[in-house]
């Protein structure tokens, strides 16, 4: 099951690498005439999808009554981080080619990019503390720290919303899913204790 999930989670990145190879080899590919922008949208989309899937696991284990899926949550979260990093590397290395002056200016000046960058930075400590050692070391604080995801996810979705030009359909879908997932946590549910979530 775990291997199957790894393959599933890696497949968007593998597909991207395959398309990148086709591009490099002057073959027809799906990356359009502006591959850097395409990669940007693609990795950003997958990052948000994984963050939302990660948030869905806790509600899902009650809804589909399958408590075991909680053990895959860390993996899902780390894949979210992985796609966020691809998104960032594309932004810094391919799009702006390490032009730090412009990159910094853009982060400060454009609220959409500020939000996106804030989400990425906040995700970093969560990814770093996802090892068993850190979970043990932080004890109760680990859970407290990882509640930051409730800030990261809205930041990411707002970032997505602010970046589109006219077609808000996709970020709207993300927003609705996010509201449902967060709303589920707030709704009173007799018979369950959510301190473990």
């Amino acid at each position: 099951m775990r291997i199957f999930l790894h393959i599933l989670a890696m497949s968007p990145a593998l597909w991207l690498m395959w398309q990148g190879w086709l591009l490099y080899d002057f073959q027809d590919n799906m990356l359009t005439a502006n591959p850097i922008k395409y990669i940007h949208h693609y990795t950003g989309e997958w990052a948000i999808r994984f963050i939302l899937i990660g948030l869905a696991i806790s509600p899902l284990r009650h809804i589909i009554k399958w408590p075991h899926i909680i053990k895959y949550r860390r993996m899902i979260g780390l894949y979210g981080f992985f796609y966020v990093m691809l998104h960032l590397v594309n932004f810094v290395a391919l799009d702006y080619y390490f032009d730090w002056a412009i990159i910094l200016k853009e982060i400060i000046k454009r609220p959409a990019i500020t939000f996106g960058m804030a989400a990425a930075v906040l995700l970093l400590p969560l990814a770093l503390t996802s090892t068993r050692g850190w979970i043990r070391r932080l004890g109760k604080n680990w859970r407290r720290l990882h509640r930051v995801i409730y800030v990261i996810a809205p930041l990411a979705v707002i970032h997505n919303f602010m970046m589109v030009k006219a077609d808000i359909l996709v970020p709207l879908i993300h927003l609705i899913i996010l509201i449902l997932l967060l709303g589920y946590r707030l709704a009173p549910k007799p018979g369950f204790s959510y301190t473990r979530a």
Binding site: L23, F26, T32, A33, I36, K105, D167
Partner: protein, 327 residues
């Protein structure tokens, strides 16, 4: 004859030629990669962006236009963006908001016969068949830079007629201060119009002096062939010193009006998209910088030029205007 259609057998010949060019360029790039270190290899990856493939790549849907004048007067000698990139990476929301949607769905649009309504303050209003509108004038090739408001750019060899020639023939009255254009509205042919991203019809406009500027072109073709549907067949506007969204596609109506038209993107977000939309590196889009751009087919961003490099021809029209206010 203005629009001479070639036999389908002619297409094959072009495909073979382009294949040779394609192989040649590929070998060249492979060599350069072998020589290069890691950094050079990264740059070569950029060179491989499909826009960098040979300028005259395989063309299968075009039909050759005859008797094109090439004065070269306003042409740029920069490398032309590949036909494939020009015809596969388009903003034409009538067919969907994805960049590849127009190339995928625009074949549904019927571009012949095509009627253009001319109305407003003009001596010769009426419904003109496209050929009647175009035929009295000689076709010209114009190799222009095209700068999209999304900070990417291309170099495109358009074929068309100066808009001023058409305007002179239609003879607007003194009341005509602006010219307004509308795109076709037909949900059956244009699947993107089933969604309310933009208030249809797509509308654009120019001040009369902008419309009369010798750079302003009514294009019917590119790369010596009739416009592919995704590029705005059969008739589109090209205003090279303005952001690409001013270049309204598949025009069915030309109105001579006294008040400034409210163009579609300005209707949608007036704080982001203005009426003038002159390319201006000093005035950022609120959400991204306009100081630089990515030329399709190139890896590194390049600096954006004031008026997209056409200042000599157009700057005088905006003398004394606050371009930060009238963006």
């Amino acid at each position: 004859m203005l629009f001479k259609f070639l036999k389908s057998s002619d297409v094959k010949t072009r495909e073979i030629t382009s294949e040779k060019t394609y192989r040649g360029r590929r070998t060249f790039l492979q060599d350069s990669v072998k020589i290069g270190a890691a950094a050079a290899s990264l740059a070569a990856f950029g060179g491989g962006l499909i826009g960098a493939s040979p300028a005259r790549a395989a063309r299968v849907d075009g039909r050759k236009l005859e008797n094109i004048t090439r004065s070269g007067l306003y042409d740029t000698d920069e490398r032309q963006t590949s036909y494939k990139a020009v015809t596969s990476y388009n903003n034409f929301y009538e067919f969907g908001t994805g960049k590849d949607d127009p190339a995928r769905y625009a074949h549904r649009m019927k571009v012949r016969p095509w009627t253009v309504r001319v109305d407003g303050h003009v001596d010769h209003p009426g419904d003109y068949d496209l050929d009647d509108l175009i035929r009295p004038h000689a076709l010209q090739e114009r190799i222009y830079r095209m700068r999209c408001v999304e900070a990417w750019s291309m170099v495109i060899p358009w074929v068309g007629i100066p808009l001023s020639d058409i305007i002179k023939r239609l003879s607007p009255t003194a009341k005509a201060k602006y010219i307004r254009f509308e795109t076709l509205v037909d949900k059956k042919q244009m699947p993107g119009q089933s969604r309310g991203t933009i208030k249809w019809p797509y509308t654009e406009g120019l001040r009369m002096d902008e419309a009369m500027n010798p750079l302003t072109l009514m294009a019917v073709g590119l790369y010596g062939e009739t416009l592919p549907n995704q590029n705005g067949a059969p008739l589109r506007l090209v205003v090279p010193w303005k952001y690409g969204f001013k270049g309204i596609k598949s025009i069915v109506r030309i109105s001579f009006v006294s008040k400034r038209p409210n163009n579609s993107w300005r209707q949608l977000a007036a704080h982001e998209y203005g009426f003038y939309a002159n390319v201006n590196p000093a005035v950022d889009h609120p959400r991204w910088t306009q100081a630089n751009e990515r030329r399709i087919g190139e890896f590194r961003r390049r600096d954006t030029l004031m008026f997209n490099g056409y200042g000599d021809e157009v700057a005088h029209m905006y003398a004394g205007m606050n371009l930060k206010k009238y963006y």
